[in-house]
């Protein structure tokens, strides 16, 4: 009896929580865009193959954005993800093609390479006290430069099918990158919501000094966060190399901006302390659907950039207005 009551209360609570969730508005924006596109482009947009293609496309960005949101939650930024994306893809491809490493260890090697750059970022920021913007600007250049250096600029192709499966295959008709995205999102959601370290990430972004005084291991947590961000960039980079069947030193140029845009559109605060995992995924989805819509509606490339800019500003201000309204309501006096 009481159990049942609690369950009903729980369900109600759950619904309320969804509606109050910071990401609800962003979800509405995404839904609105999909409705508009469905009306304008009809079956072209709603076809299973198109939807699959869109989700697969944005899942790479979403994976990077998940890493990025951790960093942004601590009040930091990581500009190196685009370069680490390329570097890790190359390490894995070279491992397979040049050094004779089997696929699975080669993938681990690539992720490790991303983690190494994350560690370098974290050490520069905590031990050398460099501002994250500067430190990661430096590693961005290093990772890109090393990528050119070890490949001489040549792409690495001819990869085995078992590797291409990571980015090109599907399991039960679901493309593999989407599966990676969902699995990683769940893992990191649990990390942020249900672990001490996850709470610390928010605390550091909310007020670093107060967090330190509360016993939060600030430097250690920051290093972990940059390592995780590097690893996520690496996973996205490896999956992309697998999807295209080629590792290239020029991959991922400017992707840091896509990753950051996903996080911001997803409603996280740039100054840290506020945001979640589902936000950046929705943010990346909005960008992906938008790009797809522009292609489907046959908008000229020369105008696409402008339209993307307008939609970003409209979406973020809609979310911000809703957010302000809610928080002013919540404020009592």
């Amino acid at each position: 009896m009481t159990e049942k009551k609690a369950a009903v209360g729980g369900a109600k609570n759950w619904l309320l929580r969804i509606r109050q969730a910071s990401t609800f508005n962003i979800f509405l924006i995404l839904l609105g865009m999909c409705v508009i596109l469905a009306l304008l482009a009809g079956g072209k947009f709603l076809s299973v193959s198109n939807i699959t293609s869109v989700v697969r496309q944005f899942s790479f960005y979403a994976i990077m954005s998940i890493g990025m949101v951790l960093v942004i939650l601590t009040g930091g930024i990581d500009l190196s993800v685009g370069s680490v994306f390329a570097f890790s893809g190359i390490i894995t491809c070279m491992g397979i093609m040049r050094w004779g490493v089997p696929v699975f260890p080669a993938v681990l090697l690539g992720i490790l390479a991303g983690a190494a750059f994350g560690l370098l970022n974290g050490l520069c920021i905590t031990k050398l006290q460099l501002p994250p913007f500067i430190a990661t600007l430096g590693t961005m250049s290093i990772a890109r430069g090393v990528s050119y250096g070890i490949t001489g600029g040549y792409p690495i192709g001819g990869l085995p099918d078992s590797f291409k499966f990571i980015g090109l295959g599907s399991i039960l008709d679901v493309p593999t990158p989407i599966i990676w995205m969902v699995v990683l999102a769940l893992l990191f959601s649990v990390f942020l919501r249900r672990t001490i370290r996850g709470r610390w990430v928010y605390a550091i972004g909310g007020n670093e000094e107060a967090a330190r005084i509360s016993g939060v291991k600030v430097n250690q947590t920051k290093i972990i966060v940059y390592v995780l961000c590097g690893m996520m960039a690496a996973i996205a980079g490896i999956a992309t190399a697998a999807r295209l069947g080629v590792g290239q030193s020029t991959a991922g140029v400017g992707y840091e901006m896509d990753a950051i845009a996903g996080v911001i559109i997803g409603g996280a605060s740039v100054s840290g302390g506020y945001g979640n995992i589902i936000g950046p995924i929705l943010g990346a989805a909005i960008m992906g659907v938008l790009r797809n819509g522009l292609v489907l509606l046959n908008v000229s490339a020369y105008w696409q950039q402008a339209v993307i800019g307008v939609v970003i500003i409209v979406a973020v201000s809609f979310d911000k207005l809703q957010h302000d309204r809610r928080s002013s309501l919540r404020k009592t006096r």
């Binding site: 928010y202 107060a210 005084i213 509360s214």
Partner: protein, 500 residues
């Protein structure tokens, strides 16, 4: 009976879930200093924000100078003749005094060009009016807080304000600066300007005000002539009950030495500091602002690096020198600035309460929200934290309740030694008393308490022993019986040689 300059009648205002004002009446006469007091959350700020056009009232009337006024925006309030000087001065620190005076209504020579000379000349005139002797070209960031307040008052005069609201103007001023401010208030009064003075400090209110209006829970308790009432009456009006003893000191048998600090050196403001505190004892740290007391506490807690010295907690010497080690050994620090150091304002009461004791919230290795809710709700009840729920963000709580959340955080870690740095600063009388009672309760449980305070009555009222610091050094140690205001000031000011 003089005519009222301002009448606010039956003002009502509600925010979702809270009735902030339930029909408040307020009448201000021209040329009077009218104190507005009440606990935090009583509705003072909301009332003043309605007067200054920040909030719209739900119902009620505002009459100003005999005419009904509709205050729809801050601009309209200014035009009407109402200026508010907020606690957090909103000035542009990198602009000059003169530029700040005329921000938004710059003196122009033509449509596009500023008239520098006219700006400076007028600025100089208004600065003279308020008796502030600085060059109008000085940058605002180079002024003291008191001087910046004067600039704000000059700004109010420059828009011909007839009613100036001062929101806790003395909270960050020294005694001398307060005297200067009060001189200025009296001069404004003589010129026929009405001043609404919001403060928690009753002595000041008795010194400066003509009449006092007390608010409680969004209602007007009453307006009294200052000359006709006593401090006890006021407190009773504010809290709705009489506070029998202002400082509820409990007598507790002292136990073992809980914390011992020897020869601590940390930076320029902590030199060779040694002290100890026993279980069940309240050790006070008295001194002027900047004496090195907060710095000492930060170094003990491992927030700031220490150069030399030894810190022993319950017989165990600390070695890592980090907050996590301090916490693990049983120390808790309620820091000086609760908003910047104590709380994560964007986090909820629940998250703030459990932040230092996350290990307690784990179920099968994962943070359990239910457990967190249990823990935090327990402290909300125990410390009577006034909040709609544990999911309220800390930023939305009043100062006293915020401070209680910081204390709850350390109770949750099971601290055996609690360092309270200025725990009651900027907190209303009721919450202050609750915190004092809590200190007594904790000592009864054998917790050792260290309290840094700049309010001597608080130190004298609460502490078993007092360390007096000045210029980074311990100047002396007084027992409860020895300690008097005079003895402490003597140690600070006259003893040049080391006291033992």
């Amino acid at each position: 009976m003089e005519a009222n300059l301002l009448e606010m009648r039956d003002i009502r205002k509600s925010f979702p879930g809270v009735q902030a004002l339930r029909g408040v009446n307020l009448a201000i006469r021209a040329g009077e200093v009218h104190a507005l007091i009440g606990e935090n959350g009583a509705g003072k700020s909301t009332l003043m924000k309605i007067l200054s056009g920040v909030h719209r009232m739900d119902a009620g009337e505002i009459w100003f100078d005999g005419a009904q006024a509709d205050v729809g925006s801050t601009m309209e309030a200014t035009r009407m003749g109402v200026s508010v000087i907020y606690q957090e001065l909103n000035q542009l620190p990198n602009l000059s005094v003169a530029e700040n005076l005329f921000t938004g209504r710059e003196k122009r020579r033509s449509r596009f060009f500023l008239d520098q000379r006219e700006t400076l000349a007028q600025a100089a005139r208004y600065l003279e009016d308020v008796g502030l002797d600085v060059d109008p070209r000085t940058l605002c960031k180079d002024l003291s807080i008191a001087q910046r307040q004067m600039v704000e008052i000059a700004k109010a005069l420059s828009v011909n304000a007839r009613l100036i609201v001062m929101d806790e103007p003395t909270s960050s001023l020294t005694d001398r600066e307060i005297d200067l401010l009060f001189g200025l208030v009296r001069r404004l009064k003589a010129q026929g300007v009405a001043v609404v003075f919001i403060s928690h400090k009753l002595e000041e209110i008795f010194e400066i005000s003509d009449r006092i209006t007390v608010l409680r829970d969004g209602e007007c308790v009453g307006t009294v002539d200052t000359a006709d009432c006593t401090e006890d009456q006021l407190i009773q009006m504010m809290v709705g009950r009489s506070l029998t003893a202002l400082y509820p000191k409990r007598e507790v048998p002292l136990g073992e030495v809980a914390l011992r600090v020897e020869g601590l050196n940390a930076g320029p403001s902590v030199k060779d500091v040694s002290f100890y505190v026993r279980e069940g004892e309240i050790l006070g740290f008295a001194g002027l602002v900047g004496a090195g007391r907060s710095e000492t506490m930060r170094a003990v807690f491992g927030v700031d690096p220490m150069e030399s010295g030894a810190i022993t907690v319950l017989g165990k010497t600390l070695s890592h020198h980090s907050p996590s080690e301090a916490i693990a050994s049983g120390i808790g620090l309620v820091p000086e600035d609760r908003k910047l150091q104590g709380l994560i304002l964007g986090m909820t009461v629940r998250e703030n309460t459990t932040l230092a004791s996350m290990g307690e919230t784990l179920v099968r290795g994962f943070v359990s929200r239910r457990k967190e809710e249990e823990i935090s709700a327990g402290y909300v009840r125990r410390l009577d934290i006034r909040t709609p729920g544990v999911e309220q963000k800390a930023v939305n709580l009043s100062g006293g309740n915020q401070q209680k959340v910081v204390i709850a955080k350390w109770l949750a870690t099971g601290s055996r030694i609690l360092i309270l740095d200025s725990p009651t600063r900027g907190i209303d009388v009721g919450a202050k008393k609750e915190i004092h009672e809590l200190m007594g309760e904790l000592t009864a449980q054998g917790v050792a308490v260290i309290m840094v305070s700049s309010e001597l009555p608080e130190i004298l009222g609460m502490c078993d022993r007092v360390m007096v610091m000045h210029e980074g050094r311990v100047r002396g140690e007084l027992s409860r019986d020895e300690a008097t205001q005079e003895r402490i000031m003597e140690l600070i000011l006259t003893t040049k040689n080391q006291a033992s």
